[in-house]
């Protein structure tokens, strides 16, 4: 499987006959821990939320990547999957949720609406032009209306790659100022 080579742990574990031995430095262990345990916020806005649940469901099973623990409280999660259209009325709420998440926190914009307002942005009056328009920095964009569950899994893998590249102890502000 092509995906298997991209998983965070494969860089750390070198297979020896008869078992695995972990060879690594302290920092990469920390990064590996961060990347392998991305708990998303239980937060569905619209249509994409159904595909988000599908991603958790047996066929696709997001839990294989360690990202299956959907926490309902923003205090305990690492990644906010913005799944759906962001409306003006919801905007403040989203900002607040993002502020309530503890560092280091990540955002995945799932679906065209969360990326750029999607098909709903034009000709209407109540839709925000994507997550970034609210001032919430986005780590991974997943286009699609809605993206298929495979795409969300790919987005999670991309986010893991990103976390493995950055410094283990860096907070949000250091990585991206907006």
């Amino acid at each position: 499987m092509a995906v298997a080579e991209k998983i965070p742990a494969s860089g750390l574990i070198e297979k020896f006959p008869g078992g695995g031995i972990v060879l690594t430095t302290g920092e990469s262990v920390l990064k590996w821990g961060k990347a392998s345990s991305l708990w998303p916020l239980t937060f569905g806005l619209a249509c994409c939320a159904i595909e988000m649940i599908s991603t958790g469901a047996p066929r696709f099973d997001i839990d294989r990547f360690g990202a299956g623990v959907f926490r309902a409280s923003p205090r305990q999660c690492d990644v906010m999957i913005v799944a759906g259209t962001i409306c003006v009325k919801m905007g403040d709420c989203m900002k607040r949720l993002y502020a309530q998440m503890p560092e280091p926190k990540y955002v995945i914009a799932m679906g065209n609406c969360a990326v750029s307002g999607g098909i709903f942005y034009h000709d209407t009056y109540s839709v925000v032009k994507g997550t970034e328009a609210l001032g919430i920095p986005v780590d991974v964009y997943i286009p699609g209306c809605p993206p298929r569950p495979e795409n969300l899994l790919f987005g999670i893998i991309k986010l893991q790659e990103k976390i493995l590249k950055e410094s283990a102890l860096c907070g949000r502000k250091e990585r991206r100022v907006r």
């Binding site: 249509c47 599908s54 958790g56 047996p58 709420c93 098909i119 709903f120 034009h122």
Partner: protein
């Protein structure tokens, strides 16, 4: 501590009712619903429903899109039952144009709409169980079963959730090769699975205790609140547009309309289970009698119906979905009102919630089976 000092403490303790905000981000509000609940201990004294957190202004968009361009937007209203919305919209436009589609298109539409009803009820029932605290397992069972239907729709029209399949005058494509075999397989697969799900819930003492008698909605109240769909039938009103105002070719099929007695959460769940069975019956009959021919009448890209108005309501999985379209003779609708089922169904919540426990609010909300996209539009 002496007894008298206990008495003084008792006199000095104040108890008061307090407001709790549920939502817009809350695990059991099915999206971005916001409930303000006034609690006295655990008992609900008052409940205020705030909606509009997903108000995308689809009715305004409709005035700026041609009739055909608007079809994808209907998918995103009730996104769990997108085909039902597709169908309601194209039927309304066809009614406006006084147009009759071919028999094959009608049959395929019936098959698709009924399979969509099964898929939607699977989600509805299992999210309901999730709200009752059966964490994830029933939900994932429901999604596993639903995946079969989604896969079929993916084959038919190329998307998993938002289908954009119905067209004014027919369908986007005819059924692909081998689809009827697949549909038959789905019926064969789904029947025991529905029995499975039913035995998972119905034989569970906790599930029964949590749902029976909770949130009972009387017949009169249901009609007065304009509650429709399975929720209305659970209250004992035998009213189903497929039977009472047949559209497409529903009058050719033999099916029962399940009704409840008490209108409580248990009945609402039971009616949905039974409706899935009846839907499979309809699909079976329709796939058996599927006529040959070209399903689609070519209408051209730009449609200009005569000036006038039409109101078409269909029995979508969540209730009666109405499209009111006013045309001024141009290529764009002059005004489009979407009468969505969940909107009226949710309005009844604050009435049902008074005097029950806060856990039951979640139960009633789950049993009403709402979709925020449908409510806020």
């Amino acid at each position: 501590m002496t007894w008298s000092s206990v008495e003084t403490i008792k006199e000095n303790i104040h108890t008061e009712e307090f407001w709790v905000n549920m939502g817009p981000q809350h695990p059991s509000t099915h999206g971005v619903l916001y409930l303000e609940v006034k609690l006295s201990g655990e008992t609900v004294v008052d409940l205020i429903t705030h909606i509009g957190y997903l108000h995308r202004g689809i009715e305004k968009i409709a005035e700026n899109r041609t009739y055909t361009q608007f079809i994808p937007f209907t998918d995103r209203l009730d996104y769990i039952a997108a085909m039902g919305n597709n169908l309601g919209y194209v039927l309304a436009v066809e009614k406006l144009m006084k147009m009759e589609v071919s028999d094959r298109a009608k049959y395929i539409r019936v098959i698709i709409a009924e399979l969509q009803r099964v898929a939607s009820h699977l989600v509805g029932i299992t999210t309901f169980a999730q709200d009752l605290g059966a964490f994830a397992t029933p939900l994932f069972y429901g999604f596993r079963e639903r995946e079969k239907i989604v896969e079929l729709f993916d084959d038919i029209c190329g998307n998993r959730l938002t289908y954009n399949y119905m067209r004014i005058g027919g369908l986007q494509f005819d059924l692909p090769k081998g689809a009827d075999e697949k549909i038959k397989n789905i019926i064969k697969y789904m029947r025991p699975k529905i029995d499975d799900l039913e035995s998972l819930f119905s034989s569970n003492a906790i599930f029964t205790a949590r749902t029976k008698g909770v949130g009972a909605l009387s017949k009169e109240k249901a009609v007065n609140y304009s509650v429709t769909g399975p929720n209305l039938r659970a209250s004992g009103v035998k009213w189903d547009l497929r039977r009472d105002e047949p559209y497409l070719c529903y009058d050719k099929f033999d099916f029962d309309i399940p009704t409840g007695v008490n209108g409580d959460s248990w009945d609402r769940y039971k009616v949905r289970i039974e409706e899935m069975r009846q839907s499979l019956r309809i699909v079976e009959q329709a796939i058996g009698g599927l006529p040959e021919g070209d399903p689609t009448i070519k209408v051209g890209r730009i449609i200009k119906p005569e000036a006038g108005e039409s109101y078409m309501r269909t029995e979508a999985p969540r209730g009666e979905l109405g499209f009111y379209i006013v045309s001024d003779g141009s290529a764009y609708p002059y005004r489009m009102k979407i009468r969505s089922p969940s909107f009226s169904n949710l309005a009844v919540l604050s009435e049902l919630a008074k005097g029950i426990k806060v856990a039951d609010v979640v139960c009633v909300l789950g049993s009403l089976d709402i979709v925020m996209g449908d409510i806020d539009r």
